[in-house]
Every structure is written in C-alpha cells, then in structure tokens.
C-alpha cells in the first residue's frame, strides 16, 4: 500500500511538473532597431492572457514571451502579432527557461 502511494505521488509530481514547466517562446525578428518603434511588440504580447513576461533585445533581435503555467500559444499567433506591430519573424524556438535566464544569456553575449 505504501509503495502504491509513493508511486502515485511520484507520478503526480512528475505530471504536475510537466504540465507546469516553464515555456518561453523565443522569436528572431527582423527590422527591430528602435525601442520606441518596437514598443508595439511588447504591448501586444503583454495584452495576451497567456503571457507572464516579455523580453525584447534589440541588439540580438530577440523577442521572448514567457507563458503562464499551463498556458499555450501557437507560433502563428506570435508571428501574426509581431507582424501587426510592423516586424517580420524569421524563426521561432521554444525554450524551457524563464525570461530571466534568457535575458542573462543574451546580455552575456
């Protein structure tokens, strides 16, 4: 019985960790050269209910959107919002790191 409970707890913990693992969408964006002009990207991303935090790096041409626990966001939505803000997404990758980690990584380059 104890073994069963222990196994259940481990499985539940694993599933809950998987379900609430950090997910950050990292987009490479062309044309992003001015903070005043790029503010539209940040505003549009922050307006999404799924968004926990947004990070923009002009030098590395990166927009990173960290999602709230359990939330999802399609790549197409990200691309469309960035296009509405006037820019072009060249590639997208999904990271399991939070914004703070990505920020530290970018700024160390």
């Amino acid at each position: 019985m104890k073994k069963l409970l222990l196994a259940s707890s481990i499985i539940a913990a694993l599933f809950s960790q998987a379900a609430f693992a950090t997910q950050t969408i990292k987009a490479n964006v062309n044309g992003m050269v001015c903070a005043f002009c790029a503010q539209g990207i940040e505003k549009k991303m922050r307006a999404l209910s799924q968004t926990k935090d947004v990070y923009v790096n002009l030098k590395q041409r990166i927009v990173a959107v960290e999602l709230k626990d359990g939330q999802t966001l399609s790549n197409d939505t990200v691309k469309d919002l960035i296009k509405d803000a006037g820019y072009e997404v060249t590639s997208i990758e999904i990271s399991s790191h939070p914004i703070e980690h990505i920020k530290a990584e970018m700024e160390s380059k």
Binding site: N30, G31, M32, V33, C34, A35, F36, C37, A38, Q39, G40, I41, E42, K43, K44, V56, N57, L58, K59, R61, K83, D84, A85, G86, Y87, E88, T90, E107
Partner: protein, 223 residues
Amino acid sequence: MQLSSCFKFLLKLGLFVCSVNAVAGPMGFKDSFMAMGDFNKNWREVFVNYAITPRDAFGVGATYMRSDDETKTRTLEEFTYTSLLKRWNLPNSQANLWFTGGIGAIQGENDSVEKGHHFDKVMVTPGIQFDYETTRVYFAAAHRLYRAEDINHDFTSVRAGFSFYETDYDKTQPWAILEARNMNGLSEKIEVTPMLRLINKSYFVEAGINNSGQPRFNFMYIF
C-alpha cells in the same frame, strides 16, 4: 546665396518626405494612437492618428505657419491619411516608404498683399517620406505639398544622425540629429537644426536650436 539655391534645388530634387516633419515613422502599430508635435517660432504642428491596420492610419492635424518676415501667417486644420507603402525589415536595419495626405481648411493673413488681407481656402497636403534606420544611424527625407488656390507652401526636409551608443530596449538612447528643411513661400532660407534626440520605449523627444538661433522641440507618443 548661390550655395543656398543649389542646396535647395538638391533638397527638392532628391528628397521625399513625411507628414509631421520627418520625425520617425508617422504612425504607430495596429490599434494604437500616435500623437506628434513639432514646434518652433515659425512652424508649429500637432497631429494625432489612429492605426486601423499595420499600414493605414487616419487622423487630424493642425499647423501654424509664419513667414520669416512675419508678414504671412497661416493656420491649417486637416484630416489626414497615412499609409506605409513599403517596409523593408532587414536583420540589422529597417527602411520605410510612407505616404501621407491631408485635406483641410487654411486660413491666413497676407500683409504683403494688403494690410489685414484675410483668406480661407481648401488645402490638400499629399506627401511622401523615405527613412532608413539601424540601431546606430538614421536617415530620412521627405517632401510634402501644401497646396491651395494661389498658395504653395511645399515642405521639404532631410535628416541624418547617429546614436552615441547602443542601449538595451528599456533604456533611453541619445542621438545627434541634423535636419535641413525649407517651407516654400514662407522662407527663402534653408533652416538647419542640430538636435539632441532621446528615444525610449515610451517616448521620443528632440530639441535643438536652428541656424537663426530659434529653439525647436519635437515629440512623439504612442498610446
């Protein structure tokens, strides 16, 4: 004098323009309002527009113009349309071609015709602007027609500048900008203004003093 005429000719020949005197992009992102202002002794302009798409914005504007000799004054109130004709989003730069057009009413005094001579006419103001920008350099050229019956106050400007250093997205970046511009029928001079530009993700301001010793202030704000 000859140099001034030559430069004026080159300005008109080679340049294209913008609506609000070539500050930066003349509209914000989709579903945003942009407010812009440009103020000096003889030319004061305020503008607000709303971007209904990423490429189209409608707005209203008001402009006060005065000749160097202070014998002519005009006020213009207009409805405007701004269109992003073409944008080039490159890895480390962006270039844009804009159209801005307006239609409105111009009122004025022209003391050189007759003391207290007053008029009220319909004015159209189509214009075009090209700009190119990286995180370190900036260039813009604009030409806008200001036409009404018997009136031509076409506006031409060129701007170029550089940033002192690159900054993070959430920091303020200082730029040095040099602008040359002319308003036909109001000034025979090329107005040259070196300006300090401060760009932040929330605001955009410029201030300088022109070659006649007059102060100049510009701003842009998106909300």
